[in-house]
Amino acid sequence: MAVRMGLCSLDHLHAMSYLACLTEVLDIDLVGIWDEDKELREATAQRFGTQACASLQDLLDRDLDGVIVCSANARHREHVEAAASHTPHILCEKPIATSAADGQAMLDICRETGTKLQIAFPVRFAPAVAEAKRMLDANRLGRVYSAACTNQGFNPGRWFVDREQSGGGAVIDHTVHVVDLLRWFWDTEVVEVYAEIGYSFFRPNLVIDDAGLLSFRLANGVYGTLDTSWSRPEGHHSWGNVILELVGSEGVLSVDAFRPHLDVTAGTPRRSHWLPWGRTPDHGLIDDFADMIRTGREPSISGHDGLQALRVALATYESAQTGQPVALDHG
């Protein structure tokens, strides 16, 4: 039986990529999509050969097995709460929410309704990251001392630079991916974070952070840094990166998650860019979500994982404001 899937909102850039994956993964029936923008939802539905639903309720009434929530960060709670009573499986875009209270409320409603909530951290499915996890599990690096990480990107503009809708800029956008990887690698938590944050470094008249550099410590003793900046200029060969440089007692390991790639020079005006080849991390994420629905297993990336990553991003803003390291309490 094909898995019946729907998509709620096209706000997030990843929505288009998820739709492309949904049409590629076998045995998924893309039942419908909804977005507040009528023109956009109809054009997109036509492009991907699916139904444009007139309202979120219309989408949720279609007996879905799973729904993907790709709305702006601040609306995740509203949409997950609406979906939880109708749809047994939800894949929610990251960050889970813009406040820990909202994130907790989403976990609570999903627990009450028995809904399985997965958070979209596709980088876990980048093959190099998955292989790095295997190497770490096999203790190839010995005792790991440090992790110097970057998740730099371009400024996506639109609602991403409106704090009301996004909850923050580059820091909330890019802290959560790498923090999720580190928590997953070692089944650990970030226990302290110190951060320097920059506003309007790379684009004029921006009232939101577009540069962030975190220094963190994990419960397992690993310390590290994370650059979350929207520092990739227009015309750069790539949207950005996820790079992890690990140093351990028995060796060093570099993970460059969005290699390998072809070099393509094309377009008007002509420019050179990287075109990753092979199945994308998004493809792995959608595969995994569909597999969870088919097999009835627990989500591989839970709502709790999403909330813990968000708490680090919120602590980052707090540290930048106070100028002090912020401790995170994990009870």
Binding site: P127, R140, G142, V255, P260, L262, D263, W277, G278
Partner: protein, 332 residues
């Protein structure tokens, strides 16, 4: 569920067996002219060891021919006569005449024949071809590829002797260059003529190398470097296709997604990790099964396999004669 019988228990068969193990098929068993090799393979990968090819055929719906190239025609023709679906490692056969005979019998018996030109399933090559097909670089004019490694020593002495014996292996053009000849045809269309230079008659032991210049019927030009003259280790590949609107390029020497150096290895290591479904030997057999079940044409048609051998043979002729060789009227 399809039952798969593998003929030839050498190194490539193990890669096929690992891929079959992840697909919805039943491994019927193995046949090899060296019976102990079939027994060892059956112990490692499952299925039975069959003393005779006939018994293997009787127990199989799909026959996967993994012998060395001179031993392809016999099991392929036997499988075709028995009406079995066939996977055959590349090259289809050592000569054009043998390929033509195989194609004739497979056509007559209406037997599906898939020749495992695996480069069409390498995701980087597939992505480059897709870029060309999408029109991103406009009309393609020049294509260059490099496939460079050391002399093949896998399988130990016997296999190395076969590779070193031109009559058996066809040298680096038939073993390595044929990958690129097939990829060039896939991207650029039919080859009009070929000119080649190489070490074919240079008498360098355990070494071969060739540089091919191709002209396509479209007017485009191709360059292939095929080498067994490089230092041992991972094969280096390079690819670029230039069109009137752009360029697509790849080089295996680019930094990999994963690189490490541990005290245990004590040397720099690097690899581009792949998602499971992207492993090319898995992808080609998954594609074969999917097409077989849906009655679709394979990505590599029997005609493609024939033409890859024909262009390879024409390149060898060119090295010997010092003249360009036209493909349309090429005869051995």
């Amino acid at each position: 569920m399809h039952r798969v019988g593998i003929v030839g228990a050498g190194s490539i068969s193990r890669i096929h067996a690992a891929a079959w193990a992840r697909l919805p098929v039943k491994l019927a068993g193995w046949h090899d002219v060296v019976p102990e090799a079939a027994v060892a393979a059956a112990e490692r990968w499952g299925g039975r060891a069959f003393d005779s090819l006939e018994d293997l055929l009787a127990a199989s719906d799909i026959v996967d021919v993994c012998t060395n190239v001179t031993a392809h025609p016999e099991p392929v023709l036997a499988a075709a006569h028995a009406g079995k679906a066939i996977v055959c490692e590349k090259p289809l056969a050592r000569t054009v005449a043998q390929c033509e005979e195989i194609l004739a019998v497979c056509t007559e018996r209406q037997v599906p024949l898939f020749v495992a030109h695996v480069v069409r399933f390498f995701p980087e090559f597939e992505a480059a071809r897709r870029t060309v097909q999408a029109g991103t670089i406009g009309k393609p004019g020049m294509i260059r590829t490099v496939r460079a490694g050391g002399f093949p020593r896998m399988g130990g002495g016997a296999a190395a002797r076969r590779y070193a014996d031109f009559e058996q292996s066809g040298g680096v053009i038939m073993d390595v260059g044929i990958h690129d000849i097939d990829f060039h045809r896939w991207c650029m269309g039919e080859v009009e003529r070929v000119f080649a230079r190489g070490l074919l008659e240079a008498g360098v032991p355990q070494c071969d190398h060739a540089l091919l210049v191709l002209r396509f019927e479209s007017g485009a030009i191709g360059h292939i470097e095929a080498s067994w003259a490089h230092t041992p280790g991972r094969t280096r590949t390079h690819l670029e296709i230039a069109g009137d609107q752009g360029l697509v390029a790849w080089d295996s020497r680019d930094p990999a997604s994963l690189s490490w150096r541990t005290r245990a290895d004590d040397m720099p290591m690097a690899q581009n990790a792949l998602q499971e479904a992207d492993h090319p030997y898995f992808a080609e057999l998954a594609h074969f099964l999917d097409c077989l079940d849906k009655g679709r044409e394979f990505r590599v048609t029997p005609h493609d396999a024939l033409m890859a051998v024909k262009v390879s043979q024409a390149a060898l002729r060119s090295i010997r004669t010092g003249q360009p060789v036209a493909i349309a009227d090429f005869r051995e």
